[in-house]
């Protein structure tokens, strides 16, 4: 494996779910939910990528796919060049064993209360993965290591916290324990799926600061998933990472966090920016800059550009053809899938849809 190879590489990943249905007729057409469609994403070592999107945009499915918890129905996902699902296959004899891949990709869930076993103390919850992966570690060493981590995430005295049960911890403390559990495995990538959304506003910055600090200290990469643009921006911009925007299963824009926020290219990114309240009283409430408030059903996503049903700038062309992902600027890091950032005459000469303007 070469040094500049990405830790995780998703290429053209599709995840489609078949909905149960059709009643008793086995030949009835089943609906397919296209949760993730044609996503390309590389995560380097020491990288921070934040993904934002509405509910139903497929961001959680993308995250699960990225850490090898969800088998993609199309495309491939590889860890340091080794295809994850091939490694998991029977008698595959992979270069990197699946157990190592599994250990290297960790996850922090959204609900800190539900992700810890209520019948186990913090210490016993945290000891379980260590017993599994480092069986040669003695009980004293194991405990010392766990206590060190508990203290490191700001819960002191650690001896006190180690013997508590989850219900004796606050939401922020539970989420810290989940963070320790992920870090104990010394992972390469941690998926943080809405990891701060359930916390009180006043605690979110603190939790994100802690994640950033540990990210730098342990050389871990983070895939941070959120519906909140300001949280995503906070963590991605602090780490000098990237910000990606998902809409109905597609990654419509991705680039350096600061650039995406300051210079959004996709109309949907602009809509998300509008939706993120800023402090200030200069302007009164404004009309939502979308033609349709509700997100379409991912079962039958609109043809062409999927955003055309809501986009304020959609034309006939958007309804018929899907825009390619193109680079904005010269370094190619900021990419967007929208006709508006191209010179394509097919878009610029096309008539706007009802209620839209170019």
């Amino acid at each position: 494996m070469s040094a500049d190879e990405p830790v995780l590489s998703l290429s053209n990943v599709d995840v489609h779910f078949e909905k149960a249905g059709g009643g008793l007729n086995p030949f009835a057409a089943r609906d397919t939910v296209r949760a993730v469609d044609g996503v390309n994403l590389d995560i380097e070592s020491n990288d921070v990528v934040a993904i934002v999107g509405e509910s139903g945009s497929g961001k959680t499915t993308l995250g699960k796919t990225a850490v090898g918890l969800q088998n993609p129905t199309g495309g491939s996902i590889s860890y340091r060049g080794q295809d994850i699902w091939q490694a998991k296959g029977w008698r595959s004899d992979p270069e990197i064993p699946f157990e190592e891949i599994r250990r290297s990709l960790q996850i922090i869930h959204q609900d800190p209360g539900a992700s810890l076993n209520p019948n186990r103390t913090v210490l016993s919850s945290l000891a379980a993965p260590l017993k599994q992966w480092q069986p040669d570690l003695g009980p004293e060493d194991r405990e010392a290591r766990i206590l060190h981590f508990i203290e490191r995430v700001g819960m002191s005295p650690p001896e006190d916290y180690a013997h508590r049960y989850p219900h004796q911890l606050s939401g922020g403390e539970k989420q810290r324990v989940a963070l320790v559990r992920a870090l104990l495995m010394n992972p390469d990538v941690i998926l943080a799926d809405e990891a701060v959304s359930a916390l009180d506003v006043s605690l979110r910055v603190e939790m994100m600061d802690l994640m950033l600090e540990l990210q730098a200290e342990f050389d871990t990469s983070f895939l941070f998933i959120s519906h909140d643009l300001s949280n995503a921006r906070y963590i991605a911009e602090h780490a000098g990472g990237r910000l990606g925007v998902m809409y109905l299963g597609e990654l419509v824009e991705i680039g350096p966090a600061e650039e995406v926020i300051q210079n959004p290219q996709h109309p949907y990114t602009k809509v998300l920016k509008w939706a993120t309240p800023e402090l200030g009283v200069n302007e009164g409430p404004t009309e939502p800059p979308v033609r349709e408030l509700d997100i379409p059903d991912p079962v039958n996503p609109p043809a062409g550009c999927r955003f055309h049903t809501r986009c304020p700038n959609a034309t006939e062309q958007c309804r018929q053809a899907t825009p390619d992902v193109t680079a904005v600027g010269n370094d190619g890091r900021h990419r967007v899938a929208c006709y508006r950032s191209t010179d394509d005459d097919a878009y610029w000469n096309s008539t706007p849809l009802d209620g839209a303007e170019k």
Binding site: V201, S202, R204, T276
Partner: protein, 362 residues
């Protein structure tokens, strides 16, 4: 449970309120000494403590606080809807819009009149729209049932419901014939707002009505609410933990800390010139798109226990400006301007001690 109405009137006339209630403004809901307490094994838990506030007719007031600051209790107390074994004390007076009707002592109402008041005069919307509807009934039945129970004309009421749904960017025919599981969370939440308004109430109390929704839907509902207020002459009480969101909607904002108001003022003053160190900390702790990253910081410490609220200023344990005075003497509400008041001993010096980091033009 509450005072009789005769003592209520005496109290009103004698009360030189801190909350500009005596300036002859058009008040619709008046709270005095409003407290809620729960008896627990380890002591009395006071989850709302001597709150005095006036809600003016036609305004949107935002009530902001962390989890456990008493904001939901405030909503329940306004409607005399605190669940057992909670005890509500103090007074809530509702002034109907027509001049003939007498003021209503909300906490003293019997069951029947209280039910009438709750839907027809003061209506409420809770956070969990998902669980507010009966899954076996379609939306039309929900509207019909509500209209029937209050002896309203159903045909007229459904017409009003259709208009309300259209105002909320929903397709009335589709929604009325759908069952709750057939709509998305954002659509259900909007249908719930329409249901709350179908009996033409004067006041709409909303407790975290958008917290479970996506940002885009939150922000859209916020702008729809503002249109609804103008169209139907409503008064709104909007309770949330999201300070930036509420600045887009509210005329006034009240910040609750430790079960009482720390600061109340017009939105512009609260954002541009907050005087309470807690309000500033809250503003500084909120991630937002404009502020320089280096200046966002968390609030140290944690919110106080309702059984054991610190003496003196309840914020002194977390406050960087706290002095010996703050530990002993509870700061009274002081007027900063006519439309802005704060409970802090040191509000005049707050600029030096707790600078405001958010990228707001001053």
């Amino acid at each position: 449970m509450s005072k009789t109405s005769s003592t209520l009137h005496e109290r009103q006339s004698s009360n030189g309120t801190a909350d500009s209630g005596s300036t002859g403004e058009d008040i619709i809901l008046e709270c005095r000494d409003l407290s809620v307490a729960f008896e627990m094994d380890r002591g009395t838990s006071r989850v709302l403590h001597n709150v005095d506030i006036d809600i003016r007719r036609g305004e949107i007031i935002g009530i902001v606080g962390e989890s456990g600051s008493g904001k939901s209790m405030f909503a329940s107390a306004l409607l005399n809807a605190v669940v057992d074994p909670g005890k509500t004390s103090g007074t809530v007076t509702y002034h109907p819009s027509d001049d003939e009707s007498d003021p209503v002592d909300v906490l003293g109402l019997d069951k029947g009149p209280l039910r009438t008041l709750r839907w027809e005069d003061i209506s409420m919307v809770f956070q969990g729209a998902m669980s507010s509807f009966n899954p076996t009934m379609d939306f039309r039945e929900h509207f019909v049932e509500t209209l029937d129970a209050h002896d309203y004309d159903v045909v007229e009421g459904i017409e009003r419901a259709e208009e309300l749904l259209a105002d909320l960017y929903l397709d009335p025919d589709r929604v009325l014939d759908s069952y709750p599981h057939e709509l998305s969370g954002g659509m259900k939440q909007r249908a719930l707002i329409a249901l709350a308004l179908v009996l033409e109430p004067e006041v709409l109390v909303m407790d975290e009505p958008t917290a479970a929704l996506d940002l885009l839907m939150q922000r859209s509902i916020i702008s729809l609410l503002s249109d609804l207020r103008d169209k139907y002459d409503l008064t709104m009480v909007f309770i949330t933990h999201d300070l930036p969101l509420v600045t887009k909607l509210a005329d006034r904002i009240g910040v609750l800390y430790a079960f009482e108001f720390a600061e109340v003022g017009n939105t512009a003053e609260m954002v541009e010139n907050p005087r309470h160190p807690y309000t500033r900390a809250l503003l500084n702790a909120t991630p937002n798109l404009d502020a320089p990253l280096s200046e966002m910081r968390p609030i140290e410490g944690s919110a106080p226990d309702p059984v054991n609220v610190p003496a003196g200023c309840p914020y002194h344990e977390r406050c960087p400006m706290a002095t010996a005075d703050c530990e002993d003497v509870k700061p009274p509400m002081e007027l900063v301007t006519d439309t802005h008041e704060v409970a802090c001993h040191h509000w005049r010096d707050v600029d030096d001690e707790v600078p405001l980091s958010v990228g707001v033009e001053r």
